[in-house]
Symmetry: C2
């Protein structure tokens, strides 16, 4: 035993393997081999592979830089935070999938993350029940986008990517029957586009535009008729609190 085992060391080693060889190669045996020991030894410090994965996610999330909430810049702060979060997730291939699987944010870093997102969202003027919804949408989208970005960049080689993406799919879509898939046909080149960066920014903007619209709608409704019987699901959620 060259070096004393510890949770910290195990997580660190696992992250190295993850970055170097991908999520599929991350087995308990592989980690143990890297540490010069057997797989059984890991279970003294980590109860589960699942727990190990959550620890990995914790470590990745803890590296996301966060700033003090400034109510006037809430939208830009949200954009910036989403950017950083996705960057951190994408940097460690496969970790985003873990984030999607773990629904309950148990760890400290995950709580920090949620707090950093909720602050600006509440500053938008949205009522709290809708803040919860917007939080849901925004974080789910960020995670899902990271999963997609991972899968796009890691799973295939450059050759297979170009072939299977540009050739087979784009050409396949151009050959679709026009009477059955008019919209798909018209959107063809846009859907397979590889400029993920721009599309991510636009998606965040779209969600933020939704937040602004609903916040404005809410403040308008409150000032005009404070005790209205709203019928839309949005208002009913708001009322249920």
């Amino acid at each position: 035993m060259r070096q004393q085992l510890s949770r910290e060391l195990i997580v660190e080693t696992a992250l190295e393997i993850l970055d170097r060889e991908g999520m599929d190669a991350l087995s308990m045996r592989r980690i143990a081999t890297e540490l010069g020991t057997g797989a059984a030894s890991l279970y003294a410090h980590v109860s589960n592979k699942e727990e190990l994965q959550e620890l990995l996610l914790e470590r990745v999330l803890s590296q996301v830089q966060r700033e003090e909430p400034d109510p006037d810049r809430w939208a830009d702060q949200l954009r910036e935070l989403c950017r950083r979060t996705v960057d951190a997730l994408v940097a460690h291939n496969g970790i985003a999938r873990v984030a999607l699987a773990a629904i309950v944010p148990t760890g400290e870093a995950a709580l920090d993350q949620a707090e950093a997102m909720l602050g600006p969202l509440r500053a938008s003027g949205l009522p709290d029940p809708l803040v919860a919804v917007a939080f849901d949408v925004l974080s789910l989208y960020c995670t899902a986008y990271a999963v997609e970005a991972n899968a796009m960049r890691s799973g295939e080689f450059t050759e297979a990517q170009v072939l299977e993406r540009t050739q087979q799919l784009s050409q396949y879509m151009a050959a679709l029957p026009a009477d059955r898939f008019p919209a798909l046909l018209a959107m063809g080149p846009l859907l397979g586009a590889a400029d993920g960066e721009q599309r991510f920014q636009a998606a965040i903007d779209l969600i933020i535009a939704g937040v602004e619209a609903l916040a404005a709608r809410e403040s308008r409704a409150r000032s005009r008729r404070p005790l209205d019987r709203g019928l839309s699901s949005i208002e009913s959620v708001h009322r249920s609190s």
Copy 2:
């Protein structure tokens, strides 16, 4: 050999096992046992477990009812479609995770699904590049929500759910340091809320509000400067002189 094997039969059997015993129980051996044969026999009709899963997803998606696009009711049509899609995914536990993993919509049903979503979205007046973005956000959210709903309903018993959700988490959040997590503390009861249905509706409404806002912004910009980007022949003539 009691019954001739076929892709169709294998997929059907797999879906039954999935519904009855969950995604974890869905192994090639299990399917083969159910069919009274060995696992190797399946590989004559299905090249992969991954392919089998995509076939399962295809089958589930093909059962989503779709209607003719009506430009005047585009928002309601979107809402309805998202509802049905999520219902179909949630009905077969674990299939939503497959939908998230498969980024490229290869199958026929997936293409139908995309077409049904793109139609109403284009009717909103959004420019096509933003339609692609909205499509991204909407479908990713629907899938991710279905994953979450699955995990919430299937993984635990009622006892563990009540204990671990309401007690441990809600009580845990109430004990958070107020100076570090003010927003989390204020939102506590709302985030762990189990009324997933209402929150899903509200989330879709939020995204649709974003679409409406961006569409309005776009049409405003176009009416203000109609001769933009060299589209008018007059302008191009004028510029060329």
